[in-house]
C-alpha cells in the first residue's frame, strides 16, 4: 500500500502572533485548530482524527480532545519526535486515511515559550543516556555547533557559507508582515553577531516565538466536496538518527534515509522539486539536510548555498519563503508545522508575491527533531498540487 494520492491537505493556518502574553496554551491550540478548519471549509464537528505532540498540554491527545470538544474521534496519534512531529503526523494521517480509519484529521501545534517559559521536561533525567551527557553541559545550540565543527573539518565548510543560509531566509522574511526578523541581513552581519557556541553565532540560530499552527488532512472524497484548493500528499518517509553505540557521525542527518523513502513513494526525484521547506533550527541544519536529501553532493552544501541557490523565486532550490524559523517563526521551538504550512501556500500559489515560485507543482518538506549532536528524528514529505 502507498499513501500517494490517498490524502489531501485541505486546511492550513499559522497563528499570526509571535508573542502571546494573555492566553493559555490550550486556547492557542484552539485558535489554530479553528483557523485551519475554517481554511478548509470544515468544522470541529467534522473531525474524526486528532494528532498532536509534546507541546499539547495535558494527557497525550486526550486533554486537548476534551477541551476542543472532539466527540467524534476514532483515531488519535501523539507521536513525539520534537520539531519533526507535525511532518510525521501528515504522513501518519495519510496512512490512517488510506487504511479507512478516519476521513478528517486535525493536527495542532501551539505554545508560549516567550511568555510562559517552562522548564525542560524532567523525564529527560530518566533517559538511559542522561548520566553520560547531561553532566557535561550540552545545550541545544552547542549540540548543533558540534555538528557544524565536524562538517567544517571534513568538508571545509565555512562560517560565511552557513551565514548565506540566514541571508537567504532574511531576504524572504522581508516580504512577510508577520516575520519576527523582517530585516535583510548580510553575511558580515551574521559573522559579527555574538558567538553563542562556536562556530554558531546568534544569527545562525532560529528565533524563539510564541504561537502555533494547524493542518487538516482529509480523504479524497472529502477533498472533492470542498471549495478550497487542496494539496495532494504524494510521499512520506521517516527515520531516526542514533548514536550507534559509540560511533556517532555528526556530518549527516536522518534525511539520508527519510528522503529516499519519501521520493520513492511519491515517484519523483530531487530534480522535480520546485520548492523546499527545510528545517532550520540552525543554519547547519539546513546545510546538512540539503546534502542528505540529494540536492547536492555530500560536503558540497557550502558551495551550493553560497551562490544564492536558496533564494526565491529563481534560485535552484527556493527554500523557506516565509523566512523560516531563522527569521519568521519557530513556535514552541518546533518548526515542522510552519514548514508544512508554507509548502501548502506555495502549492496553492498563495505565498507572498515576491517569493512565490512560478508554476510550483512539487514541494518537499523536511522536519528534524531532537539534536543533530546526539539523537534526532527526520521526517520528509513530498506534496503536490491538487492535480499533481
Amino acid at each position: 500500500m502507498t499513501i500517494r494520492g490517498q490524502a489531501y491537505i485541505a486546511g492550513a493556518y499559522e497563528h499570526p502572533e509571535r508573542k502571546i502574553p494573555d492566553k493559555s496554551i490550550a486556547r492557542v491550540h484552539a485558535e489554530v485548530a479553528l483557523g485551519a478548519l475554517a481554511d478548509a471549509g470544515l468544522a470541529l464537528s467534522d473531525v474524526d482524527a486528532y494528532f498532536c505532540a509534546g507541546d499539547a498540554p495535558g494527557f497525550g491527545p486526550i486533554s486537548m480532545a476534551d477541551y476542543l470538544g472532539l466527540t467524534r474521534l476514532r483515531y488519535t496519534d501523539s507521536t513525539e519526535t520534537g520539531g519533526s512531529s507535525y511532518v510525521a503526523h501528515v504522513g501518519h494521517a495519510a496512512a490512517a486515511i488510506a487504511a479507512g480509519k478516519c476521513r478528517v484529521a486535525l493536527i495542532t501545534l501551539a505554545g508560549l515559550p516567550r511568555s510562559q517559559p517552562v522548564p525542560r521536561p524532567s523525564a529527560s533525567a530518566l533517559a538511559p543516556e542522561a548520566g553520560f551527557e547531561q553532566p557535561f553541559g550540552p545545550t541545544t545550540v552547542s549540540m548543533y555547533a558540534l555538528a557544524a565543527r565536524r562538517h567544517m573539518h571534513e568538508y571545509g565548510t565555512t562560517g560565511a557559507q552557513l551565514a548565506a543560509i540566514k541571508v537567504a531566509a532574511s531576504l524572504h522574511a522581508q516580504h512577510n508582515p508577520h516575520a519576527m526578523l523582517p530585516k535583510p541581513v548580510t553575511v558580515d552581519e551574521v559573522l559579527d553577531s555574538p558567538m553563542i557556541s562556536d562556530p554558531l553565532h546568534r544569527l545562525d540560530c532560529c528565533v524563539v516565538s510564541d504561537g502555533g499552527g494547524a493542518l487538516v488532512v482529509v480523504a479524497p472524497e472529502v477533498a472533492a466536496d470542498l471549495a478550497r484548493q487542496t494539496v495532494k500528499v504524494l510521499g512520506h518517509g521517516e527515520s531516526p538518527k542514533l548514536t550507534a553505540g559509540g560511533h556517532i557521525d555528526l556530518t549527516y542527518t536522518g534525511a539520508v534515509w527519510s528522503g529516499p523513502r519519501a521520493f520513492a513513494e511519491a515517484g519523483v526525484t530531487p530534480g522535480d522539486v520546485d520548492y523546499a521547506s527545510i528545517y532550520d533550527s540552525f543554519t547547519i541544519t539546513v546545510l546538512q539536510t540539503i546534502e542528505d536529501l540529494g540536492f547536492c553532493e555530500k560536503g558540497k552544501g557550502g558551495a551550493f548555498v553560497a551562490d544564492g541557490s536558496l533564494v526565491a523565486p529563481h534560485g535552484r532550490l527556493p527554500f523557506n519563503t516565509d523566512g523560516g524559523g531563522l527569521c519568521n517563526n519557530h513556535p514552541v521551538n518546533r518548526g515542522g508545522m510552519t514548514k508544512v504550512i508554507e509548502a501548502v501556500r506555495q502549492l496553492r500559489g498563495e505565498a507572498n508575491a515576491p517569493v512565490q515560485v512560478p508554476e510550483c507543482q512539487i514541494a518537499l518538506v523536511n522536519g528534524n527533531g531532537g539534536s543533530l549532536g546526539t539523537r534526532s528524528a527526520a521526517a520528509t514529505l513530498i506534496l503536490g498540487r491538487e492535480d499533481a
Partner: protein, 143 residues
C-alpha cells in the same frame, strides 16, 4: 590506567543520574578508571554503557577498562551555559574518540579554546562531583 580524582576546577561538576545499570561505571570513576561496556557475544565495545549490545542484541555485556586516551572528534566553546552551567565562564563541550574507537561526549579542560583542534590528542582526567562519582573529562595529552 589509574588517576586519582582531582578537586573540580571553577567549572561546575554536576553529579550524574545514576541507576543500578550504571552504578559500577560511576564507582570506577571515583577510583580514576574509565570503563565502557564490551559485548561477550560479538566483542563490540559499547558507548554509552548499557545492559544490551546495540550491535547484536545480546544481554551478555561486561565492563571493560579503556586507556583514557583519544583525540578530539568535535568541540565547541559554549558561551551560554544552562542548568548547572548557567552563568559559568565559557567552557568546552566535545566529543572525544577514544583510542578504542568509541566517541563520547565530554568536556575539554586545562586548555584555551583557541588552542584546540579536531584531532588533538587528549587524555582523561576525573573531576569529583562530591557525590561518590567523578566526571571523565579530557585535557590535551602531555608528552
Amino acid at each position: 590506567m589509574t588517576t586519582p580524582a582531582q578537586p573540580a576546577p571553577p567549572m561546575p561538576a554536576p553529579a550524574p543520574a545514576v541507576n543500578p545499570e550504571t552504578m559500577e561505571f560511576w564507582t570506577a570513576t571515583a577510583d580514576g578508571r574509565l570503563l565502557v561496556k564490551r559485548c561477550q557475544d560479538c566483542d563490540s565495545l559499547i558507548w554509552y554503557p548499557r545492559a544490551i549490545c546495540p550491535m547484536c542484541s545480546s544481554l551478555r555485556t561486561e565492563w571493560f577498562e579503556v586507556s583514557g586516551r583519544g583525540a578530539i572528534y568535535s568541540y565547541t566553546v559554549n558561551h551560554r551555559g544552562e542548568g548547572a552551567y548557567q552563568g559559568a565562564p565559557p567552557f568546552v563541550l566535545a566529543y572525544v574518540e577514544l583510542d578504542e574507537g568509541l566517541r563520547m561526549m565530554t568536556n575539554i579542560v586545562e586548555a584555551d579554546g583557541a588552542d584546540l583542534a579536531v584531532g588533538l590528542p587528549v587524555e582523561v582526567v576525573f573531576h569529583d562531583t562530591g557525590a561518590g562519582s567523578a566526571l571523565p573529562r579530557f585535557r590535551p595529552l602531555r608528552t
